[in-house]
Symmetry: C2
Subunit: 252 residues, 2 copies
């Protein structure tokens, strides 16, 4: 799981890459027949304050969710990847801006229609509620990370979470792809870009990871990274299937 909001998708439901789970199929099928919207990298899907009329499922790509403070600082609340949903936990207006990190394709479902569909469908309601609870749990995890962990610990947590989320932690070597920029990571972890660089370099120097280019990290000593991360994950219910992962080809 990605520190917190990187993996706010399913708790009991899963998102296998080819839709083998019956529970997941229920949710996936809601979107399956909908047309696909495309957005270029850097494009916004919706903005904080917009009427929250739709929810989205990401068919492909990666988004960042953020809020801008009055003085211009940017707080990234989380990232969303292929297979995950977007905008479910907003009511009235979106409480953050959603922007494409990579080129993305997503399907749009109006909130009104979802409401109509879930009316009287207890199973669907449960699935949606599970996603909302998952999002709360992820947010609380993020709160713990930002409030209690130091820079190196936050970075370790970010990496370990990414590995778990993508399922990379079940292969050897553990290779994770990070489509977002260092600035994105910094704004997500509550650090500056320089501190992120420093810490990544230190992890590399200490032999915990290997860096291949800007967007690929190989976790060498996973157990040590997990310990650095405060082992916040191990007690977490993220024992789940990986979401489909976009191929490593995002330009910046």
């Amino acid at each position: 799981m990605y520190t917190s909001h990187l993996l706010p998708s399913a708790s009991s439901a899963t998102f296998p890459a080819f839709g083998l789970s019956s529970e997941a199929l229920t949710l996936e099928s809601l979107f399956a027949s909908l047309p696909v919207d495309k957005f270029a990298a850097g494009e916004g899907v919706f903005w904080e304050g917009d009427a929250a009329s739709d929810i989205f499922q990401i068919a492909e790509g990666c988004l960042r969710l953020y809020r801008i403070l009055p003085d211009g600082r940017r707080a990234i609340i989380g990232f969303r990847f292929a297979g995950e949903m977007l905008g479910l936990s907003c009511e009235g207006t979106y409480c953050y801006t959603a922007e494409a990190v990579t080129p993305i394709r997503l399907r749009r479902l109006s909130r009104a229609r979802l409401r109509a569909m879930s009316e009287g469908d207890g199973q669907l309601q449960s699935l949606l509620l599970a996603k909302v609870f998952e999002e709360i749990r992820a947010a609380q995890q993020h709160i713990v990370v930002l409030g209690q962990l130091g820079a190196e610990e936050r970075a370790a947590h970010f990496l370990v979470s990414a590995a778990r989320r993508t399922g990379a932690d079940r292969k050897r070597p553990v290779v994770i792809e990070l489509p977002m920029t260092r600035q994105d990571i910094a704004d997500y972890l509550g650090l500056t870009i320089e501190t992120v660089c420093r810490v990544m370099s230190k992890l590399k120097r200490d032999g915990l990871v290997t860096l291949e280019g800007r967007h690929r990290v190989i976790l060498v000593r996973v157990a040590d990274l997990q310990q650095l991360a405060g082992e916040l994950d191990s007690a977490e219910p993220w024992e789940r299937q990986a979401s489909p992962w976009c191929p490593p080809q995002w330009p910046h």
Copy 2:
């Protein structure tokens, strides 16, 4: 609103002190006939990992919600006050420990029973969902505070939020009562107790607040405090009624 989780109660529903709102009555009436449990200050109501069998409504007093990290650090996720609910957004097991800050009285409703009651009751479902959404919004607010604000800004935000939450910001002078200890505030704001003291002293020295004993703060220059807090509140939908407030008599 309290930085974030201090006020995760209602978004559309309100909790007037004497239950005058019809929406609030719907939720309040769920608990009204239930027996009252009492807990002494420092006592735990439930623990992280416990089966989340019940949800609670606080009749009186204040609780802290926290998680303990493997190395002993304590992260306070939020506080809960009289009139608010507890344990709603957990599924399966509680994801934090709830502990009385002051002597508390609360009413317990089993999750199974709530489920049965809400089955087929669309209005009740909406009310509960609104509370869950409110909690997510509060958590995201807390993420922004912990990730982007400095120590003084966090403290200012904490105070302004407390004022808004208790309705103290609509009177002059703005007097807020903080039943929790400095250590609680520190663990909530991601600071050390010394930094909390230092910052509070600085706010006092700068004439922004007056401190009366350990648990009472008078906000002198509210607008300046709000600006320090990043004005995160002003754009927030916390334009709501205050919850009933416990009398200022908590010993430590």
